[in-house]
């Protein structure tokens, strides 16, 4: 595997949900949840994906690992297009991409013990002998900081943070190359949140797993990400190295998002960029730049022309922004 080839290459990925109506349940509209997204992820790297609810970030994550069938575009895992593989052909790739979920109360099957939950992936993919699997399950618990004594317990006997650890152990069981983590800490209390974030950061360092880390909170994203992408109405609007993005956000939406986070520092006296109104419906996205209806810097052409990505960074550390403020023609 050459250094340059990315582990994950997403090309123009689209996921539209049909809206049916009328007599024969014809498709009367499309919800463009993910609309032409391109991104890359290197081995062992974490891509932080941030955006508000309904921007399509979860759908993007699920479409990448084929929990939802993409409408168009390609997803290459180590150079293989997995978007059109059948169930059997996909199975070996399933092993290499796993997911961590948002709701620790819904992500574990309530009638199955910890041991059953953690063994299932090993059984399905027939990894090792049954004896080895048992050993592996205990090891997994150890990795996520839990004692093997809990193996025969049911999920409801654990707290949210503990369940999230079990969920992480399940994702690790197949030793994947890529984990999609969908808001893994947003349902947890602050004090537990940081425990889980630390765990994820540690795992990433120690096991060299690449993460697609999805969150609505820019502060959470910063702690774990190497590269950050900002999504709005199904499209990426800015992608850059974390350092570059946090030190100088370019897209007006990124800047507004950053300034909107309430800071636990009284009297910090920050200038807040207040956005007007609500996010438009993805069923009927605005023409041109999707953000122009709420953008404080909108110009006349924003309503007409869809902006292209411009690299404001260097060749080695790109900083891509999709905004007319930075276009070559402006």
């Amino acid at each position: 595997m050459s250094e340059a080839a990315p582990l994950l290459q997403v090309d123009g990925l689209r996921k539209y949900f049909p809206v049916r109506g009328g007599l024969f349940r014809r498709v009367v509209a499309q919800v463009r949840a993910v609309d032409d997204v391109t991104l890359q992820l290197r081995r062992g790297q974490t891509f932080g994906l941030v955006g508000e609810s309904g921007c399509g970030k979860s759908t993007l994550g699920r479409s990448i690992i084929r929990l939802q069938e993409p409408t168009g575009g390609r997803v290459l895992l180590d150079g293989t297009d997995i978007t059109r593989l059948g169930r059997q052909a996909l199975l070996p790739y399933r092993r290499r991409m796993q997911m961590i979920f948002q709701d620790p109360y819904a992500s574990l099957s309530p009638r199955r013990t910890v041991a059953q939950t953690l063994r299932e992936p090993l059984d399905i993919h027939q990894i090792g002998t049954p004896k080895e699997r048992e050993h592996q399950v205990s090891q997994l618990l150890d990795v996520v900081g839990m004692s093997a004594r809990v193996l025969n317990r049911y999920p409801h006997e654990f707290s949210g943070g503990q369940r999230q650890r079990i969920g992480i152990a399940r994702a690790l069981s197949l030793k994947p190359d890529l984990i999609v983590a969908d808001e893994p800490v947003s349902a947890l209390d602050v004090s537990v949140q940081s425990q889980i974030l630390n765990l994820i950061a540690d795992l990433q360092r120690e096991h060299g797993i690449a993460f697609l880390f999805i969150a609505h909170d820019l502060a959470v994203i910063q702690h774990v990400s190497d590269v950050v992408g900002v999504m709005y109405l199904g499209k990426l609007v800015e992608v850059a190295d974390a350092t570059a993005l946090y030190s100088s956000p370019k897209h007006p939406y990124t800047r507004a998002l950053m300034s909107a986070i309430p800071q636990p520092e009284p009297g910090s006296g920050r200038q807040r960029i207040m956005l007007e109104g609500d996010v438009p419906s993805p069923m009927n996205p605005p023409s041109g730049c999707p953000f122009h209806t709420r953008c404080p810097d909108a110009m006349a052409k924003c309503a007409e022309l869809t902006p292209q990505f411009t690299n404001l960074g260097s060749e080695r550390s790109p900083h891509a922004v999709s905004c007319h403020l930075y276009g070559h023609d402006s």
Partner: protein
């Protein structure tokens, strides 16, 4: 700030009966709220902050819950002793409340007009036409565009942010002295949340009312409140003005909480500070300080008797070994 508090809560205890036994969700808390101020009540889930808010309006679901002890005095009247009919006069009149879930908090089968005018007519005794004018006026004040037209909408025709604005308009329609806001922005997106926080602050100043803001988000507290209390396991851990609370927290829990909030930093940390362990079970509380098991400063005395809330310097806190240089004033 006037010398006499608008709301005086003393030794409030709220009990729930569960199949496993009685549980004190709130266990002897006291605090004051003054006119024209915003008080934050912060804490993690299950700390009793929401129950406290509900108790102020007599909305504790009963059974299984009840106010087991203490008093809630609003302008000299003990609300904990009022009967249901008298309490109804208070609700929506003198005290209003807004909730976390704007999507479900409004009745889906009645128009905004109907829901708002009902409240106004009930508390102000106006005619329907007058109430309607007031409602339009209020919707305008909370920043709903074309309020006269939106008034006849049903809730499902509005976005989450709009519905929360309608809730706020309804809450303020009768000029309450106190607004209890329970996680009013938690269910909203960051950019909408910023709008709503701004709005509550602006209306608080305009109406000169007292606001109790219940939230788990210390960032929201820092930006909107003058004073805050930090709750842990049904007790007040620390209470202070915002400045000292955030700059020099005295209770180790406050400190830990502040430390572990993810925030945008100049440098990415390798390890976020955390609070080890988890909140104890209310059915199975440790004998001493409820935070002792998770506290790095805990000593023998912390595990034997529970510390009382004590004023020292700018803060009041319930801790034997607080953080900071100021020596604690002798305990009475």
């Amino acid at each position: 700030m006037t010398a006499t508090p608008l709301l005086k809560v003393t030794d409030l205890a709220i009990e729930f009966s569960t199949p496993q036994g009685r549980v004190r969700a709130v266990d002897g808390i006291s605090f004051d709220v003054y006119e024209n101020e915003t008080l934050g009540i912060v804490g993690e889930s299950g700390c009793g902050k929401t129950v406290t808010g509900l108790s102020l309006l007599g909305l504790i679901p009963s059974p299984p819950g009840r106010i087991a002890a203490g008093s809630i005095e609003l302008a000299g009247r003990n609300l904990a002793k009022l009967d249901e009919a008298a309490m109804r006069e208070v609700r929506g009149g003198e005290i209003s409340m807004i909730f976390q879930e704007p999507m479900t908090a409004l009745n889906p089968v009645f128009t905004v007009a109907s829901q708002m005018t009902d409240v106004i007519i009930r508390h102000k005794g106006l005619t329907r036409a007058q109430a309607r004018r007031e409602a339009i006026d209020m919707l305008g004040k909370v920043g709903i565009p074309a309020p006269a037209r939106r008034l006849d909408d049903y809730p499902h025709q509005m976005s989450g942010g709009m519905r929360q604005r309608v809730m706020i308009a309804m809450a303020l329609a009768c000029g309450p002295k106190l607004l209890v806001a329970d996680e009013p922005t938690t269910a909203l997106d960051v950019t909408t949340q910023a709008q709503v926080i701004e709005l509550i602050g602006q209306l608080q100043r305009e109406f000169r009312m007292a606001v109790i803001l219940i939230t788990h988000d210390l960032g929201v507290v820092a930006e909107t409140c003058q004073r805050a209390l930090v709750m842990y396991c049904g007790r007040i851990a620390e209470q202070a003005q915002i400045e000292p609370l955030f700059r020099s927290p005295r209770h180790p829990y406050t400190h830990g909480l502040l430390d572990s909030i993810p925030r945008i930093r100049d440098q990415r940390l390798t390890q976020l500070p955390t609070i080890a362990g988890r909140v104890p079970d209310l059915l199975n509380l440790p004998p001493g300080c409820r935070f002792a098991d998770r506290c790095t400063r805990a000593q023998e005395d912390c595990r034997t008797a529970e510390p009382e809330l004590t004023q020292a310097g700018q803060s009041a806190f319930a801790c034997y070994h607080p953080i900071g240089h100021q020596p604690a004033e002798p305990v009475a």
